[in-house]
């Protein structure tokens, strides 16, 4: 069976501006249409309308558009909780950037946040990994920081990514890794196999690297869609249809 690749973080406005066709050309089956929380707070209706439009265009182009909310600014815990109460059921994926220690710790322990996006210069602690493992969260690396700044800065980002990949291998969490472009424009998008090759060069096995762009994000999207559809009302419970049977494990 051919792999279905997902780029789970592309700015919604970029998708509206042609990145959707570009993602299809590159071989992606699905894209995460990301709205930053700062944008959503200022003009919620505008972005929700744009989301509907991009989704419709995705259907026409044959690209699966996943709605995603990104918490990319350091907010107080109470503020994040209020945001999650309001928006959790309106977005298929919710992620938080590890912009500061408190937000990272909160993102790891709150089950409503699905993905922790690693920003260069930040790290995860032992307790964070425990929550990530228990709550089945995903850890995300982005391609965009590798394109920004001078050579030295980019080398530092590469070194951090290599160290994180090594840590995830030691902790047996490579199946939780997602690699996305984090693109704000067309030029940051790359084909999935080249992105996987980059992860491979950083120390991950090639199959695991391909999984970080296909199986890992796709399984998250499926889980969350099942939750929103009521098929999984609470963690560990799945409502079976009439023709479905409980599989032997």
């Amino acid at each position: 069976m051919t792999r279905q690749f997902y780029d789970l973080l592309v700015a919604l406005e970029a998708l509206a501006g042609g990145a959707l066709s570009r993602a299809r050309e590159l071989g992606f089956r699905g894209v995460g249409a990301a709205v930053a929380v700062s944008q959503l707070m200022h003009a919620p209706q505008r972005f929700l309308d744009l989301m509907v439009e991009v989704r419709k265009r995705g259907e026409e182009e044959g690209v699966d558009v996943v709605t995603r909310l990104v918490i990319d600014v350091a907010l107080r815990e109470g503020r994040v909780k209020a945001l999650l109460r309001r928006w959790r059921r309106k977005f298929e994926v919710i992620s938080a950037h590890s912009v500061d220690r408190r937000l990272t710790a909160f993102a790891c322990r709150d089950s409503r946040i699905d993905v922790v996006t690693m920003v260069p210069g930040t790290e995860l602690m032992r307790g964070d990994f425990m929550y990530i493992r228990t709550l089945e969260k995903r850890i995300e690396l982005l391609l965009a920081p590798l394109h920004e700044g001078g050579l030295r800065r980019r080398a530092e980002v590469l070194a951090e990514y290599a160290a994180l990949v090594d840590l995830l291998k030691r902790k047996g969490l490579t199946n939780r890794l997602i690699f996305s472009s984090g693109a704000n424009n067309l030029h940051t998008l790359r084909d999935p196999r080249s992105m996987a090759a980059l992860l491979h060069v950083l120390g991950l096995g090639y199959e695991e690297a391909l999984n970080a762009l296909s199986i890992n994000p796709a399984s998250l999207v499926k889980e969350n869609r099942d939750k929103l559809a009521g098929v999984v009302p609470v963690r560990g419970v799945r409502v079976l249809g009439e023709d479905e049977e409980v599989g032997e494990e």
């Binding site: 299809r24 920004e148 590469l158 196999r193 090759a197 980059l198």
Partner: protein, 104 residues
Amino acid sequence: MGGVRYVVAVIEELGDLTTRIVEAVVEFSGVAGLAKVRPAVVRIYRKKRIAIVRIEREGLPLFRASLAAYPRPILRIIKVTGTLRRAQRIAESLSLPGEVRDQG
């Protein structure tokens, strides 16, 4: 074991392709990496904006990683083959740039 691979790709940025590729590989992995990849542009189909690039088989991941990590898109890889004849056949079968899709 040695061996080469032929990469069929769409040219994303016009200009001296060889220089751009060398720049990207050297920037990512240095001269040692370039020695491992040893890229050479074999053929360019100007109208279709398609190129065939020969690389060392062992250098394929490094070549792809270099293209991914380079800030500007240089090439969009369509297919990797083991023979030049097959690469040419694929390149010739491709139509207009807008219709070219990744074939894995």
